[in-house]
């Protein structure tokens, strides 16, 4: 067992426990975006940062990937953490403002400005869909391709994958797809029903410029449409 202190409170956890799990156990909230129970932690969104160590040695680490250490001092809401978290959310807003998940997180953390060049990415490369597909669906149909600026998610060669089980799991976990599907009026949702595989988006003739990241998309595959033709 490992003893550490989170926000001054002592806690004893099993070896291999992450700081995020330890903080959850004590009830300290830490926002997350690319973390999901049941999937291996990936540390991509940086939203779950916490501060560890003392004085000049203090540093920020991602709590979802950092394992508890004996005698560690963790602060989940120090001013440095709060500042970093807001900045990270601002950056996420800059890249993917149409994500309902990101919007909600930004609102909850009192982020009131976005000072970077505005982009409209379809994907924040959080890797949730890839891990879902691999770890829960055992399919490995989609993955990361290319690198750097050109990094993207999809199937090999952008063609229908024979491994895909059409489970919809990838779309279900995607924080960027949600609003694309529900648009900005959830009650008039365009789809949001990806998971049950009959999304209304495919019934609509026009899909405007709401690009869907799933290429090929489960729904589109069923109707035989390609994203580019929508």
């Amino acid at each position: 067992m490992i003893n550490l202190k989170i926000n001054g409170l002592p806690v004893m956890v099993e070896e291999g426990t992450t700081l995020l799990e330890a903080a959850k156990f004590l009830g300290f909230p830490i926002p997350t975006l690319c973390y999901m129970e049941g999937l291996s932690p990936y540390g991509a969104c940086r939203l779950c940062v916490v501060e560890i160590g003392e004085g000049s040695k203090a540093k920020l680490v991602t709590s979802c990937t950092y394992l508890a250490e004996e005698g560690l001092q963790v602060r989940t809401a120090s001013s440095r953490v709060v500042r970093a978290r807001k900045m990270i959310l601002e950056l996420h807003l800059a890249s993917c403002p149409q994500s309902k998940t990101i919007q909600d997180l930004a609102a909850a953390h009192d982020v009131r400005q976005q000072r970077f060049r505005q982009e409209y990415e379809d994907c924040i490369l959080c890797g949730l869909c890839v891990r879902m597909c691999e770890e829960q669906m055992m399919a490995k149909a989609i993955g990361f391709r290319n690198r750097g600026q050109n990094r993207s998610i999809g199937t090999p060669f952008d063609i229908k994958s024979e491994q895909c089980r059409l489970c919809g799991g990838c779309i279900y976990v995607c924080p960027a797809c949600q609003l694309r599907c529900t648009y900005n009026e959830p009650d008039k949702a365009i789809c949001g029903a990806c998971a049950n595989l009959s999304p209304p988006c495919v019934e609509k003739e026009e899909f405007d410029d709401m690009m869907c990241y799933m290429d090929p998309c489960v729904a589109c595959e069923i109707t035989g449409k390609k994203n580019s033709e929508k």
Partner: protein, 278 residues
């Protein structure tokens, strides 16, 4: 080369760690690029998910999923070449060939790519066309390089050609010089080594001009045979290099006077070589 040979390539690399990259390198050397079918077969034979293989193949710039042009122009934009004006050279190639780095001209003649350091910084800006090194390149030389390439790089007059420079090499075991001033090729002392193929042993003399492939040999060896090469002084076999980027045969390392190594491919007719100015 058909995709039938791929399982054999995979077999050869199965037990070395990180074998996937070597497999893809060899497949690319065979086809000139990585065809979709080939990747699928690699996935099947390695029993790895296609998406992982596709991920690796698209991650590294050394791999190409589209056919490359007949000639590969690599412009070094590494730090040393950069400060000496490589970006202007790259821009000039882009303008004259009318393609972006990574692209191939519509007539499939040229593929342009930028690379980060070829290990010949002192000669920078460096441009490599089909394994031929051009040193101290500036924008005004670009047209000449393209024209020479169109004419055929192997036919060019050696004396007036600045991209070719003589090297002095020695045995990687006994460090004895392999240069033979008595028997010049291309006007420079040749490199003399012993070659053996089947029952025949005889001398082989190579041009010491880097970029020239002129050789003379005591016995004619058939094209495409992988030769065993020996040091004429200590008689040890010259082996232990990396795999040839062109054909995959194990290369022969030689020590460069002044530091570094040069590796040559022992396959008769193969022009694979690696220059590593340490």
């Amino acid at each position: 080369m058909t995709t039938d040979e791929i399982p054999a390539i995979v077999e050869r690399h199965l037990d070395d760690q990180g074998g996937l990259i070597s497999i893809l390198e060899e497949v690319q050397a065979k086809f000139g690029y990585l065809p979709a079918d080939a990747l699928t077969i690699v996935a099947e034979t390695t029993k790895r998910p296609l998406v992982d293989i596709y991920g690796v193949a698209t991650f590294y710039r050394a791999f190409s999923l589209t056919p490359r042009g007949e000639h590969l122009v690599s412009v070094c934009v590494g730090t040393a070449c950069h400060v000496r004006g490589a970006p202007r050279v790259a821009a000039e190639f882009e303008r004259q060939l009318d393609v972006k780095p990574g692209e191939t001209t519509p007539d499939r003649k040229f593929t342009l790519e930028t690379v980060n350091c070829l290990g010949a910084c002192a000669l920078g800006p460096v441009v490599v066309v089909d394994g031929h090194y051009f040193s101290h390149v500036n924008a005004s030389k670009v047209r000449e390089i393209i024209e020479k390439t169109r004419e055929g790089l192997d036919k060019i007059e050696i004396k007036t050609d600045r991209r070719i420079f003589p090297v002095e090499v020695s045995c990687s075991r006994c460090n004895h010089s392999l240069m033979d001033p008595e028997h010049p090729i291309d006007g420079f002392p040749s490199v003399k080594i012993t070659q053996s193929f089947g029952q025949q042993h005889g001398w082989l003399r190579l041009s010491s001009l880097y970029g020239s492939y002129n050789i003379e040999e005591e016995y004619k060896t058939p094209y495409d045979t992988v030769l065993h090469l020996f040091c004429p002084h200590c008689h040890t076999e010259l082996i232990g290099g990396s795999d040839c980027p062109e054909c995959g045969a194990q290369m022969v390392p030689l020590i460069l006077r002044g530091g570094g190594t040069v590796q040559i491919c022992p396959r008769r007719g193969c022009k694979g070589h690696i220059l590593d100015v340490g």
